[in-house]
Symmetry: C2
Subunit: 207 residues, 2 copies
DNA sequence: TATGTCAGTGAACGCGTGTTCACGCAATTC
DNA sequence: GAATTGCGTGAACACGCGTTCACTGACATA
């Protein structure tokens, strides 16, 4: 009843997930990841894989879930730090870019599967991104009193810009990353100003 | 000397390219495209492939080039729309979205290889996108008298938003596409307003 | 007309793959 | 202590793959 068996199973499961992560790189994506490779890296027999996942697809979806979770936790954390003052935009974008730089494999996975060849994967990633966008929109409504619709539009635009820039970060050198960061911050501010102008515009049209 | 031989070769080459295009779909991307599949679809022996391309990679880069070509045609088409007058933003974004809807395979290829596992591919796609951005920035400088730097920032943001929305179009139904189109138009206008506000801001800061 | 070139071919190769199966053996249950 | 459960295993399978090779036959050249 000690559950030593269940613990062993979980350990092996983690080993499989970690092995898959380790194999992901710029040259070798999830698509070209084989069951045998993963089990080899994890140090177990190929057949044992099926004790933990039905498919490579199931493993992949687990990876996507883990990636999305990590990203969201990080950003929530960064938003809390903002409450203390300082530039919201700068802090958030910087945090995001750091995440990308430090979790290359995960972000690359999300990015690739966003436009990958499995519908289920695409939906899973899209869900994560939408989750992301919704949190930002909520923030804009609550803290900056934007009307719901405009907040959604603005949040969607910002997320699109930031994720796209994040993708470019993957291939960029240190200096290029810095430049990309500054550009992205400037662009998010442009969007914010545009949303502000749009709000003012809508107000004066109403009266 | 009639070159009937060269003509035949070119014809087969085109058949290979076309065969590869045909095999590309939402479920079956370039990465999971095999030499044998392509030659089967093209109706030639697997070994004949090597008379035309050294690698699958070489074929792939050819496909990307074709995609880039199509994209540039799109730009020209877009410019013609603008010349007719009317809303520049609406016309341009609509044209782009129509392109995506009508050239699903090509756009999906560009999208996937933008974050794919071959550096050469990524660079090739990036070059095409940069061309796109530069073209838009030039327009903003010439027609709307934006300073170079702000125009570049704005163009980059717009391209990121539009390409990202284009990616979502691939999986969207007709109604969703319409909604996505309107959202994107609104977002591009927000960016334009934000850039305008930024320009004004910079001016008043100078004086 | 004789000679050379070269796109297309079919057989054959070795390789890595996903998946099946029956089995061993330790943890668990009764 | 006996019976059961279930994770991990190694052998075996059929399959599709990229690539090689020597060869054919229509076109090109001179």
């Amino acid at each position: 009843m000690a559950g030593i068996r269940a613990a062993q199973k979980e350990k092996t499961r983690r080993a499989l997930i970690q092995a898959a992560m380790n194999q992901l790189s710029a040259e070798h994506g999830y698509a070209s990841l084989s069951l045998r490779e993963v089990t080899r890296e994890a140090g177990i027999a190929p057949t044992s894989f099926y004790r933990h996942f039905q498919n490579m697809e199931e493993l992949g979806l687990t990876l996507v879930d883990e990636g999305g979770l990590a990203l969201r936790q990080l950003l929530r954390q960064s938003r809390q730090q903002i409450a203390k003052g300082g530039s919201i935009v700068r802090a958030s974008v910087t945090t995001f870019m750091e995440f990308v730089a430090n979790n290359t494999a995960i972000f690359r996975l999300l990015l690739q599967e966003k436009s990958g060849n499995s519908k289920e994967f695409r939906l899973a990633v899209q869900r994560e991104v939408e989750h992301f966008t919704a949190e930002l929109a909520d923030y804009l409504v609550a803290e900056q009193q934007f009307p719901r619709e405009l907040a959604a539009l603005q949040a969607d635009a910002i997320v699109r810009i930031v994720f796209s820039a994040g993708a470019d970060v993957l291939d960029a050198s240190g200096a290029e990353r810095q430049e990309l960061l500054e550009m992205t911050i400037a662009q998010v501010r442009i969007v914010a100003r545009g949303a502000e102008a749009t709000r003012t515009l809508a107000r004066s049209a109403k009266s």
